[in-house]
Symmetry: C2
């Protein structure tokens, strides 16, 4: 298609929007390793998983053979409230960089949760409601997931209990108020409300909490309360399944205008956005239909892919959750307090870990001042104030575009702009004031984390 006919921002029509999620696992030759029961070390059964997750979600977690799964009508209806998200050609950024590369981004920040997290939150709330549950529990770090879940629960009139990492609870009171606006209860973690919280507080009295610790509390609260289940915003197979809507929309829009990306870039914490964005493209690669370069971008201060081990590990600090085989820094790993954004999880999606181990995708770690440089550069020309997490992908996209300037190649670069940074202005302020520093852990500093690995292959 002639370039003049391609809109600046591509919005799919309602009838062009995906009606099914795509399950990447169905096309993987090497399936991701199963979750293990932490007691027996045997693969978790659907029945066991159903004690923690909603039954339908437990099924989705285990299903590695069905390629397409219908999106229920009520979820499609909710998606229409904020989807399709726009696929945008970054003309102004290209001009600023003087690059022959074509840069596109899929922007998932145009909803009140401020990120892509809502795509899975609404699905998980829906299945909880279907099952007749009273409510759900979860953890949140930076707060996007908690906000998304509170919005979804409010829509289905479900109770929502959020354990928020204490340092975020204190530093991001506005996120907490957004969750309260949607009727959620928010507890700083670790707390006295759970056994595991009390234990962690006794062992580390001054602790400001971690995501792994908040997960332990949320799981305990769900398992111990009648009519409640636990939900999680990343890492899990079911989450990548729901997030495939990002990639499916992107691919439909690109196919419509005959655009083919050469490089697809996403930031990676637990993998929900990256896994969702790449899904249908990776499907083509897995089936041998077409090749793409995929790049996962992670913080140098929390480098699961680039410096982690591919091994079974606990998903949480309290070791109450199943074990997952993944690239991990060890469940005992604690990211530096210096690190400003999200992407702090010690592990990584099992699906993405397997794909990385199989050489299907690349990964790179970037430092945070370079990330904020990219964020500010992007904001000034493209008008959107990006979240620090999303800015990892911007950094890599700019770097690839600059390489094209050197080589003269007209590559098409696609990246995921997962969200907005309105609640991250404290980090931006540090950056503006020159108070932001980089931190790359030494091998020595990574050792305690690895020591917490259970040693199961």
């Amino acid at each position: 298609m002639s370039e003049q006919n391609i809109p600046y921002k591509i919005y799919l029509h309602e009838h062009e929007m995906p009606k099914q999620w795509y399950n990447m696992r169905a096309d993987m030759k090497h399936k991701p390793a199963p979750l293990l029961n932490p007691g027996t070390l045997k693969p978790m059964t659907e029945e066991e998983l159903s004690g923690v997750f909603c039954t339908e979600l437990a099924k989705q977690e285990l299903d590695d053979s069905t390629p397409y799964i219908d999106i229920p009508e009520e979820i499609l209806k909710f998606y229409k409230m904020y989807r399709p998200s726009p696929l945008v050609r970054a003309y102004c950024l290209e001009e600023k960089l003087q690059t022959p590369a074509k840069i596109y981004y899929k922007f998932e920040g145009n909803n009140t949760s401020g990120s892509h997290k809502l795509n899975s939150a609404i699905a998980q709330a829906y299945y909880a409601k279907q099952q007749g549950l009273k409510g759900v529990t979860t953890e949140t770090g930076a707060g996007q997931w908690g906000t998304a879940l509170s919005m979804a629960c409010s829509y289905f009139d479900l109770d929502c209990r959020v354990y928020m990492v204490k340092v975020s609870y204190e530093q991001k009171p506005f996120r907490r108020e957004v969750m309260r606006t949607y009727g959620a209860s928010v507890t700083p973690s670790p707390s006295e409300t759970t056994e595991v919280g009390r234990r962690i507080l006794a062992e580390h009295p001054g602790t400001t909490g971690s995501l792994g610790c908040a997960i332990s509390e949320a799981v305990e609260a769900a398992v111990g309360t009648e009519g409640y289940r636990y939900v999680l915003g990343s890492v899990l197979n079911q989450v990548l399944l729901h997030q495939s809507v990002i990639g499916l929309e992107t691919k439909a829009a690109m196919d419509k205008y005959e655009i083919t990306p050469d490089i697809i870039i996403g930031c990676a914490g637990g993998g929900s956005n990256l896994g969702g964005l790449i899904s249908p493209f990776m499907g083509e690669k897995l089936r041998g239909e077409r090749d793409y370069r995929f790049i996962a971008v992670e913080p140098a201060s929390c480098p699961s892919f680039t410096r982690g081990k591919f091994a079974y590990d606990f998903c949480d600090t309290g070791k109450v959750c199943p074990l997952a085989k993944m690239y991990t820094l060890g469940s005992g790993f604690i990211p530096s307090a210096n690190h400003a954004g999200g992407l702090r999880y010690h592990g990584m999606s099992s699906v993405l870990s397997q794909l990385y181990a199989d050489g299907m995708m690349e990964a790179r770690a970037v430092e945070q001042t370079a990330v904020f440089d990219a964020a500010e550069q992007f904001a000034r020309v493209e008008g959107i104030l990006p979240a620090p997490e999303s800015s990892h992908a911007i950094r890599a996209a700019i770097d690839e575009a600059l390489k094209c300037r050197e080589t003269g190649e007209e590559k098409t670069i696609l990246f995921g702009l997962t969200g907005t940074g309105y609640f991250d202005m404290v980090a931006y302020e540090k950056y503006h004031n020159g108070e932001m520093a980089d931190y790359i852990p030494t091998d020595e500093e990574l050792k305690p984390g690895f020591a917490s690995l259970p040693g199961i292959e």
Copy 2:
């Protein structure tokens, strides 16, 4: 058109977007009264205005006869970065209210400034750049306008100096950091950097500032600096002209799907959003082609339309600006500290004031807890966290929809959702904690404001 074929969210195609602004004044039989020179009390000439404003903007300010004005190509290009904004059918709100009314809203919050203010900011920055200026000065209260202007100036590489009402500067540090991200300098007002600021500080040492005072400082800073002009985000005729893009897009989308609104509702502070939204509809009413009900909604604590006087008044506290004939509470009016959101300006657009005086539109005042009730109700079902200002319009739209429930009328209600409330969570927190109170000034309390009127008819 059959209702099934109307999308849930209507996005115009690029080729359907307005290429011209609409100048409502051209169709008004009673033109708005001219600005007066505060020294001579004679109408401001283009030459006089050009000392304060960019020359092209001074022309637009005075032009009350050209109905359509071409939007320059570069502004159209910038508009494409965040426009068209969606026109959304509030199905979920209708269902919640059990109303036969059809509710639509035009959502202007999907850009980093978080509001409609960007529509005029980019136009004003463009004309400043065209004129070869170095930079512009302005004031900001809640911060939307300052953010919008800093984004626009960053795009055109203009210096941007913002005087921010001191209380907002202190309570909204995040807004300040967003402006800094876009390279603006932000000074709390009143400040020691201007003569008028020093005078006000000497007279009222503990003052937390006001919009009228920040305007005085910004004007002085512009007039006293080579290569600078002053720009304003509301009230002025030129601003309503630029904001007509909101109404033109809305009308194009409604016409495309054969939807006709019966009632059109907007919040009113200085009138920029309301004036922009109603423009093409009011044009039809002025030309006798079609009738609509228009409702301006203002805070009960700052009731310019409903309790103000229609008279000439100063636009600023320092009395350095021209006089405008408008509904006003007097330039000495200071809104209660209790009042949480924006919409704090003592006056009102001259265009809207004339239309109101001529009986072409209605106005009503609402109390703030009722406004936050509406905001939370809307957020929970429609997914968007609205700004307190925008929520005034939501309140009135809900009230009109509830009347339809009583009467059974299937009216079509359109309202302007001007922006998001991410930077207003302190106010939401007060509301959640039951610490928010209502305040309606007594007639006695309004007296000192009226006493500051210059007494010119």
